[in-house]
Structures are given as structure tokens and as C-alpha cells.
Amino acid sequence: MKKERSPKDRRLHPLAIRVMHWINAAAMMVMITSGWGIYNDDVIINGLHFPGYLRLGEWAAWSVNWHFAGMWFFGINGLIYLTYGVATGRLRERLLPIRPRDVVKTVVETLHFKIAHEDLTVYNAVQKLLYILVILASINQALTGLALWKPVQFSSLVSLFGGFQSVRVFHFAGMVVIVGFVIVHVLLAVLVPKTIWAMLAGGPRLEKRRSPQGASK
């Protein structure tokens, strides 16, 4: 029924991005909730425990197994995503540039409850900042995770973060940033449901790129 699309016909979210997005969503949920199960045995913030209904894994051993299984999906998927994003220029196209006056403008507009989302293909400055923040937090999770998993083999990574216990704090802080992002991200997606549909079906078609692929040198 659908008309044959030319290969150059670009969607806001190409199939590869959509697949990686949902794999990442599942992997992150596994990593966060199993991480909470591991956390409970030796808390970082006194008095902060995660209740059973939020934890993945019957007890610590299974939370550990979930965490060390999920890490492959989170890590490999994330690595492919970053490689894809850099190679196709998508990250640069979607997330850059960020101008300070645009950030101020978006914040002011948001405070006036003006959340413009008519055009899904353009991310506002705060959106761009948040996406960059969550990518950085994810890289932090991978590096600190690697350091916690193999503190002897990657001992230089451990000292880079200031010792084993401070790696744990960085790993915890990265989780807090990601959970904060997920809450805002899901809330806004629910407020503007067509964004969810776009991540499932591909979203609106994009104009031809101004510059040819790989504009970044």
C-alpha cells in the first residue's frame, strides 16, 4: 500500500536508532533496578535503602547476576549507538550547536508553560543539554562500572576516579543523573505522545541535509 521510499528518504528516527533506543531503555531499567539490589548491602547514603518492589533480583546474588548480564546489552548497544551517532553525523546534527541565549530562552518559555513541540525534528537547547548530559552519565556508568568490576585489571581507571570507594560514589551519582533524566524524559514523552509514536514508527521525514554526510571532518 505504501509508496516505495527512496533510500535517501530520511526519518527523524531511523530504524537503527529506534531499535537501539528500546534495547537501551530495557537495559537501563535492568541496570538501575538490579543496581539498587546490590546497593542495599552496603549503602552509600546512610538510611537510603531501595524497597523490594523496586529491586530486580530476589536477593543480592541475583541482582549481581542481572547487573552483569545487563551490562553487555547496555555497553555494546551504547557503543554501537555512539559509533553510529558519530559516523552518520546524527549526534552532531541533533545535539549541536547549543547557544547560551537559546538555553535561557527555552528556560523562560518552559517557566511560562510554553513547551513548544510542534516540530519534533528540532530539539530545543535544554533538550540538547539533557541528551548530552545523559550520554555523559552513561559513559561515566560504563567507565566506573568497569573499574568496580575489575579494580585490579583496570587499577589505573580506579585511581583516575580517586580510589575504589569514590568510584562507587561516581557510579551512584551517575545512576542518580540517569534516573532524573528518565523521569523528565518519560514525563515529557507522555505529555507529547507523538514523540513516543515517532520512536516506534520513525517520525516525520527530514529535509535533505544541507551538507553531505560526514560534515564533521
Binding site: 546490590i38 552509600i44 548480564a69 587499577s155 575504589f164
Partner: protein
């Protein structure tokens, strides 16, 4: 005395795991990779298959087994764990076991003997004096528990490599297994056993081990998590048959390398 945080609130029935362990251990690496790539296993990872939780546990143990192999590949026999000055040694060390410190049953060093088994030429039992007469090595290393806590400890004892060489152990065997007076079977891979920072510790901070910390002999290795360091060792076996361990039989990963 509060309950050891290392002990689960209610220990799960390990028999199910033991039942499937042979099956899991014989799974082919390629088969694991292939199985790991199916949509079905992805669904299991999301925890959606709630009707058959044992299938989820089997999948997790299969991945855990794969992780053990990856860890063995990552292990660098020449890479030393960071060491620390003696002034940083925590005194006394942190106690941990699957029971409270008040339940520790001291071992009599005068009658204690270390039995040997498996692929070892000279299986003559060892006394504490015999071990003390062997070359000793002191290491100040970090003890890291799978739970997350850590402390710096100073250990003196016989390098396990020295002991295995002296007794004529088959150094090409896969595993070195330990039996203990507190019924805490444990085992490590041969590569970790031969690492220079793996010792049969007799002393802590220059003093003989105190009772709660494994007198007369315990294992201390800088390349494994805390639960791979059995205390009150009574027997050592060198084997090619997977020996398992106390926490491993309850679901924790076996390799647990750092």
C-alpha cells in the same frame, strides 16, 4: 552483635541450581552466544517471563558462566594489585562470614593439619610449623567485598605458588579447591592461585591470625573478591573438576576476579 550483612535474609534453596549446574557448565560457548542473541533471551532479560522464573535464573547463570570465561581472558597474570604502606593496615581487620562473629569455632593450631588431595604428588599432611618453615611473603592489599565495602589489610604467609610447587601439584590443572573448618568450600582458578599476591596467610599485621580471621591458615588473594578467601583452611585439592563454592552454590558468580 548485628547480623552479618553478607548473609541473605532467607537463604534460597540451592538444590535447584545444583540440579542444573552440570547442564549449565557443559553449554557450548557458541551455543551461549547464539542463545544470547535470540529475541527470546532478550525478553527474558526484561524479566517478562514471569511464569517460569527458573528459566530466567538458568539464562542468568548461563551468562554468568560466560562472564567467568571473559574474566579469565581479561586476567593478566603479571598485573599486580595496588599495595599500601603498613601504616594503612586496619586493626583488627573486618570480620565477615555467613554467620556472626560470636559463632566462630576456634581451631586448635597444635593439632591442626592441612590435608592435600587431587593432582598433588606429595600428599603428606602439613602442620602449622611446616608451613611456618616455608618462605614467607608480606602483602598489604585491599580486601573488596562483593557488597561494596573494602579495607586495607596486611597479610604474611606462604605464597600459594610456592606451596603448590613444593608439594608437586599439577600446575596445569584448572582449579585449586579449599575445604574449611567452618564448612565454607571455595575454589579459584589455577592462574589466580599462581599469582604472586595469592598467599596462604598465617599472620595479620605481623601477628599470628586471630581466631575470627581464620587461624591458623586462610587464603588471601589480591585478585579475587572477598568471598573467594576461605578461612580456617583444612584441606587443599588440585583438580580439573569444577569444585564450586559456598556462595557460588547460592547464585553468586564463581570467578569473581578483580
Amino acid at each position: 552483635m548485628t547480623k552479618s550483612p553478607f548473609r541473605p535474609d532467607d537463604a534460597p534453596d540451592a538444590s535447584v541450581l545444583d540440579m542444573h549446574r552440570t547442564l549449565i557448565r557443559t553449554l557450548e560457548r557458541r551455543g551461549l552466544l547464539r542463545a544470547g542473541l535470540t529475541l527470546g533471551s532478550l525478553v527474558m532479560l526484561t524479566g517478562c517471563d514471569v511464569k517460569r522464573p527458573e528459566a530466567v535464573e538458568e539464562a542468568l547463570l548461563a551468562i554468568s558462566n560466560l562472564n567467568d570465561r571473559v574474566q579469565a581472558l581479561l586476567f593478566d597474570a603479571n598485573k599486580l594489585a595496588p599495595t599500601y604502606p603498613a601504616s594503612m593496615i586496619l586493626r583488627p581487620p573486618k570480620f565477615n562470614a555467613y554467620y556472626d562473629v560470636t559463632d566462630v569455632k576456634p581451631v586448635n593450631g597444635a593439632t591442626w593439619k592441612l590435608e592435600l588431595g587431587g593432582l598433588i604428588q606429595n600428599k603428606r599432611p602439613w602442620t602449622l610449623q611446616d608451613l611456618q618453615a616455608l618462605p614467607q611473603r608480606s602483602i598489604v592489599i585491599k580486601h573488596i567485598c562483593v557488597e561494596g565495602w573494602s579495607y586495607i589489610g596486611g597479610w604474611t604467609g606462604v605464597p600459594l605458588r610456592t606451596f603448590l610447587e613444593r608439594t608437586g601439584a599439577d600446575l596445569r590443572a584448572k582449579y585449586v579447591a579449599f575445604q574449611t573448618a567452618d564448612n565454607y568450600p571455595s575454589s579459584i582458578d589455577m592462574a589466580a592461585a599462581l599469582h604472586p599476591q595469592t598467599v596462604l596467610a598465617l599472620q595479620y599485621g605481623g601477628q599470628p591470625l586471630a581466631d575470627p580471621f581464620g587461624f591458623p591458615v586462610r587464603l588471601r588473594t589480591a585478585v579475587k573478591l572477598g568471598y573467594k578467601n576461605p578461612k580456617w583452611i583444612t584441606a587443599i585439592e588440585v583438580t580439573n573438576t569444577y569444585p564450586g563454592g559456598f556462595w557460588e552454590s547460592k547464585g553468586f558468580p564463581w570467578f569473581a576476579g578483580m
